[in-house]
């Protein structure tokens, strides 16, 4: 079992890796890179100054990992660093040019000149494999006490210790690390939080320009909220900054009031925002939808199986067939209309916002209902298959009544594939969420995918594919493991590879 599990996890990781890599290659090799500027307003603003435009474009391409870009200043610095004996300047002299050319040739850079000023700059196209390497190489960022090296603060203490911090309570506190609180506890899910491993999926561009992709997807959204916090200097203040995210602030950009409040160099905080992150929004809606879809479909399927061939079963089959055939978009719009016309629920998420419960009702219910038809068909099938088995006949012969047979015998056996399917239906939820969130303008990952595609935000598209694939692959794995727990007769390890997947 352990060996099977090990290889299964390994294969899952390989799956995620392959899908992400393929997506990366397809997106970066097929989409013309000039497309990213299609809806960028800066391009028109800068059109009058071609030098700045070149600079802007190349900086953007560098952020997106298309190329390495050195403007004149950086180029001079690099040339001088390479051979400290020579001095080069930005002046357009022959000797400078020779130096630049020599350096560019050595480092595989292409030497170019700005249109107006005729100054030199250098770019190097990154081959696809190198971009991929950088993407995976920088993916996990591990925080250590040796992470920060500040020239202006040579005596920065380096340690990790558990202490009762005045602002956040008991926590694993680091110094010399990027983040102050490595492990901390608070009231929000999942209650224990860590800061020592961070996922880095690149930089977002052109929407949310310059922000890290994980901040865009995983950071909280909405208006800022102030909370009361006790600070190290004894003051209790209302603050809008999220104290748990305290990061090292370099002395050059240090703010005196903030560092006085916290009493150390870790004064760079993020804002405390009201609404859940994109991941959080999708996760919440998905979880409610999952519960709804099972709460609705299991009783209906049981009733249909018990009344097999009667009007309830026939009517139910007809409705389910209709629901399967109707395109999801028509389904979503119809239920959205019904919900807002009959129950007065908001037909768009931002109308009342994430903090009002009624905003969540329609998206979550529709997301759940999208799955119901598929689930009912399967559950009905499982229940009916079980009806014919010997143990049911035996129970009948012993005089058990229908209700007892269904609740104690059939349901337990039919629930094995149901339990296995629960994590698997998350795959369906992801697909449904893309449409539902788009229709309801819900700020979740599902809406972000089409939005970032239309905005040509390649790094976010890849990050979302990565996240969705990871969730989907892990949920299939979890489904198989759950099945073993529910039914001890099933052995994953003895079965061949194909059976494990089914």
């Amino acid at each position: 079992m352990k060996k099977y599990l090990f290889f299964r996890v390994l294969r899952s990781i390989l799956s995620i890796f392959l899908v992400t890599t393929l997506t990366y290659i397809v997106i970066y090799s097929m989409i013309p890179r000039r497309d990213v500027f299609k809806s960028d307003l800066m391009i028109q603003k800068l059109a009058a100054t071609p030098d700045k435009l070149t600079d802007y474009k190349n900086n953007a391409f560098e952020k997106m990992n298309y190329l390495d870009y050195l403007d004149t200043k950086a180029l001079i610095k690099d040339v001088e660093k390479d051979n400290p004996k020579v001095t080069v300047t930005a002046a357009h002299t022959a000797s400078n040019k020779a130096q630049f050319e020599k350096w560019a040739k050595k480092n595989n850079f292409e030497l170019k000149r700005y249109k107006q000023s005729k100054d030199y700059y250098a770019i190097r196209e990154l081959p696809l494999w190198e971009r991929l390497g950088r993407f995976y190489g920088n993916m996990f960022q591990i925080d250590t006490p040796w992470a920060i090296h500040d020239k202006n603060n040579p005596h920065l203490a380096r340690y990790l210790k558990i202490e009762n911090d005045p602002t956040v309570g008991w926590a694993l506190v680091g110094s010399g690390t990027k983040y102050r609180y490595q492990i901390y506890f608070n009231g929000s899910f999942p209650f224990i939080h860590q800061n020592f491993i961070h996922l880095n999926l690149g930089t977002s561009y052109p929407t949310y320009a310059g922000e890290s992709v994980m901040d865009v997807i995983g950071g909280r959204q909405g208006p800022t909220v102030t909370v009361q916090k006790k600070f190290k200097n004894g003051q209790t203040l209302n603050t809008a900054s999220d104290v748990y995210t305290r990061q090292y602030q370099y002395r050059t950009s240090k703010s005196d009031t903030a560092s006085e409040q916290f009493g150390d160099d870790y004064s760079d905080t993020e804002q405390n925002l009201r609404d859940p992150s994109m991941i959080g929004t999708s996760f919440r809606a998905g979880l409610i939808a999952l519960v709804i879809s099972y709460v609705v479909s299991i009783p209906v399927a049981i009733l249909m199986a018990r009344k097999k061939g009667k009007w309830f079963d026939r009517g139910g089959t007809f409705v389910v067939t209709l629901l399967i055939a109707v395109p999801s978009l028509a389904f979503i719009y119809t239920f959205r209309y019904l919900g807002s016309a009959l129950f007065g629920l908001p037909d768009s998420f931002p109308t009342l916002g994430a903090s009002v419960a009624s905003s969540w009702v329609l998206p979550a219910v529709i997301l759940g209902l999208l799955q119901v038809s598929g689930l009912i068909i399967w559950f009905r099938r499982f229940m009916i298959d079980q009806q014919k088995s010997d143990y049911v006949k035996f129970a009948k012969a012993k005089g058990l009544n229908e209700g007892e047979i269904y609740s104690k015998h059939i349901f337990k056996n039919a629930s094995i594939p149901i339990v296995q399917g629960i994590p698997g239906s998350i795959i369906g939820l992801i697909g449904g969420a893309t449409m539902t969130e788009e229709v309801f303008a819900m700020p979740g990952m599902g809406k972000m995918l089409p939005d970032s595609i239309i905005a040509h935000n390649n790094s976010i598209v890849i990050a979302l594919v990565f996240i969705f694939t990871t969730v989907a692959v892990l949920s299939v794995l979890l489904g198989d493991l759950l099945m073993v727990i529910v039914d001890p007769r099933i052995k994953l390890s003895s079965s061949d590879s194909s059976k494990g997947e089914e």
Binding site: V19, M30, A330, V465
Partner: protein, 315 residues
Amino acid sequence: MAESTQNQPEILDSDFTAVKIDEMASEKLDTEKYSYWGSVGRAFFSSKMTIFLLFLMLAILLMSFIQPLFSGYNLNDVANINDFGARYNWPNAKYWFGTDGDGKSLFDAIWAGAKTSISISVIATLITTVIGVAVGAIWGTSKGIDRFMLEVYNVISNVPQLLIIIVLSYSFGNGFWNLIFAMTVTGWLGTAYFIRVQVMIMRDREYNIASKTLGTGLGRMVIRNIMPYLTSVIVTQISLSLPSFISYEVFLSFLGVGLNASVPSLGRLIQTYAPYIVSYPYLFWLPVLVLALIAVSLYLVGQRLADASDPRTHM
């Protein structure tokens, strides 16, 4: 033999008289005559509901492929844009489905859109089914291919299909054939896997072992012995994939990803008219209704055809 015939009196042609062949007698069999497709047709047409659905489906198909030829609907045509009388007409005798803000007839728009949506779905289904069945048949019979294809399938099947289609149609750019390529490039894997399982179940049945013992080759076994059994399964698969491809096309056009801006499709209509859901509800709900009718009739007719093509229902 030769000697004995010589001893007998010679038999001449004139000894015989021609008798007309009694066709009735020669064709008479003890068992009832069975024609597979005839039985399929009989089972299929036995239900009035099915005939109604079939007519509905044919009517929709004919409308969407013939009406656009006459209407000459063009998405970018703005001839009536300055005619205030032509704007936002509710459905009436002249404009059966009303008009939109540019004075364009919604009736023409819907059938032009339906043509695109149905074409995409039919072509994509055709491609995925043909490739899926061919690959599935090979996959189910060869162990080496099975091992390789299973790994491929495990990687792809874990990813939501909608995600793959969105990302691919984004990467390949907009266009009719690009969209079909994005839909089919991984879409056939599901069908192939499904057929593989069915082929594996049939492969080891007694009649196939017997056939193999008598020297039937692998190819002949798959094509002549196994495939006929899978007709109803394949038709079921087709009836599921037709509405699902329509659904994908509609959603992609709704996002503005799949087709070019000049190509009308039901998804694009729904997206364009979504803001009028309250002010001019007919503009939004009529395309949705037609979309639902297309998908439901295709699915139900397919399901009934699948039921009818299962020989067990012919008794």
